[in-house]
Structure formats: structure tokens, C-alpha cells
Amino acid sequence: MIATEVLRHYAQAKTTHILMMFKGGLSQNIVVDLGGLLQKRLGFDAKVRKMFSIFVEMAQNIKNYSDEKEISNDGAEVGVGILLLADTGSHYELSCGNLVRNEKVPTLKAQCEYLKSLDKEGLKAYHEERIDSDPPPGSKGAGLGLIDISIKSNANAVFDFVRYDNDYVFFSITAHVSK
């Protein structure tokens, strides 16, 4: 990579106020190490913890559900994606993105649309209902990640889908947390 190209990355990170960016396979160890890096950089007060909790759910979402896979160092198959944390001055802006196979998109879209139709109280009620039931089929965690991201971001999370190629859609989430 020549200097002008590196500079392009640098300038873009600078103008978008990026605090941290990661693109790659997310194993549990990487999630914890990125979490540790965040804590070293920003401390761990209540505001940071709120941002941190969204960050972890986004990371684990990629790890469990991205349809782009790689084998991590410890031999486990993990999902690949991108995680971005920016500082807008008044807020932390968190974004993540990963590939999803076309056939899974309608279900995921419906889930996101349902979450967007709820206000914070509605989201909390839905969370309570979900936490005591079995995780949805195909779920690798508690099946609560997207609900938690919506609650912690005060129902401002944006879910977006864009065509990637004939087989995949790029799914991304952006959420803001006040500093």
C-alpha cells in the first residue's frame, strides 16, 4: 500500500471521527480483546458501558450470524464483518455490517421492521417475553441481541440492507448512544 492510499484511509477515519475500526473474523477471544481495548481507551463508566453493551452485541451478532465465515486461530468457525465506533462529539456512533444470504433476508427484515415499530417500553416488554422463552430456531445465543441494541440505543437503531452480489445482501446496523 502506498502512502497516498494509507492517507486516504487516515483522512477518512479522521473526518468521520473513528475511534476504532475492525474488519475480519470475530471469535470470542477477539470480541473480548476488542472490549478490553475499548475499556483502555475510554474507561468503563455507565455511559461507556451502555455503548460497550451495544458493541458486544454487534460483535457477537457478526460472530454468530454473518454468512461470510473464516476459521479463527483456535479452530472455531466464526463470522466475518466490520465494526465501527465513532465519536460525533455528543454521541458515540456504533455501526456494524456483514453479509447475509439472500434467502435469510426476508425473515431478518421482518424482525427489524417489528423492532422499529416498537417504542422503548414496547421493546422492554418484548425483551421480557423473549428472555423467558426458548431462543428462535437457528439462534446461537439468547436470540436477544437486536432487541438489546434497540433498547440501549433508545429505539434509535437503524437497520439497513444493501445488495452485495447475486447471493448476498450487506446487512448493517447503526446506533447512537449519548456521551
Partner: protein, 157 residues
């Protein structure tokens, strides 16, 4: 780091099973014994103190470990053994600042397990501590206290 923690936990469990044998002998003489132990905090698991003598369970820190049920299983087992030994009272001190969604589901199961012991006549109380201004920790305390037989006192640190 995590492997070291897992190893320590395995050693603790092994020690407990050895103790089960002793406790069986002791119980023949009308003496029962439940072990007390501490699992120190790591970067992804909370500190867990199980004190059979004082009748307390203490949980402090954060949890976002990959398989939280593996971690909380120790608390489940200890509690069953503790009450099986004839104890009837348990006080839980909880100061959790962050649980990811998988850990919150596991923790919810632990609360439900406490509820079952309550139904069987055991006297369990919980004090949930949160830091002033930490709305998420306060919300968690309020959330866990709903639909629960075990009384939870929520206190600001």
C-alpha cells in the same frame, strides 16, 4: 486467560466432589458440610463468592463469556447442595454492572432457580447494588425483580 480460569474452576469442582465423600461420612454423625469458595473476577466473568458459613452468595462485576451457563452452573449446584445440607437462609449480594444478552438469560435462570427454592420454603433475599446514575444496572435490577418470589432490595452504592 480464559483457559486458566477454566482450569481453576475444574480444580474447584474436583475439590468439591472429594468433599462430597467427606460430607457423607460427616453426615452419618449428624454433621453436614458445604464448601465455601471464591471464583475471582476475569475480564469476561464476575467474581463469585459462595460462603456456606455466612449463608451468602456474592456476585460482582461483568459477564459476557461465550457460554454463560457453564459459569453460572457452579452457583446452581452450590445452592442445591447448600439447601440440601439443611440450611434454610441465603442472602445474595449482587453488584453486576454489565451482562450481555446470553449472560442475562443465564442469570435469569439462576433467579428462577432461587424462586423454586423459595417455593420449597427456603428463605432467600437479594440486595441488588447499582452505581448512582447507572440507569442500565438499575433497569436490570428492576427487571429481575419482576415476576419473582424472592424479595429484591435495590440499593444505590
Amino acid at each position: 486467560m480464559w483457559n486458566k480460569q477454566a482450569l481453576e474452576q475444574a480444580n474447584i469442582c474436583a475439590a468439591r466432589y472429594a468433599d462430597k465423600w467427606y460430607s457423607k461420612i460427616l453426615s452419618n454423625y449428624g454433621v453436614t458440610m458445604v464448601q465455601s469458595f471464591v471464583i475471582e473476577q476475569t475480564d469476561q466473568t464476575p467474581r463469585l463468592v459462595l460462603d456456606a458459613e455466612a449463608g451468602t452468595m456474592e456476585l460482582v462485576g461483568i459477564c459476557y463469556v461465550e457460554d454463560p451457563m457453564d459459569f453460572f452452573a457452579v452457583a446452581f449446584e452450590w445452592m442445591d447442595e447448600y439447601f440440601a445440607s439443611g440450611k434454610t437462609e441465603l442472602h445474595c449480594v449482587i453488584n453486576i454492572t454489565y451482562l450481555n444478552t446470553a449472560a442475562s438469560k443465564a442469570f435469569r435462570s439462576l433467579m428462577r432457580h432461587m424462586d423454586q427454592h423459595c417455593t420449597s420454603g427456603r428463605n432467600i433475599t437479594i440486595t441488588w447494588y447499582y452505581e448512582d446514575g447507572d440507569d442500565d444496572a438499575l433497569d436490570m435490577g428492576n427487571f429481575y425483580s419482576t415476576n419473582l418470589r424472592v424479595p429484591i432490595t435495590i440499593e444505590c452504592v
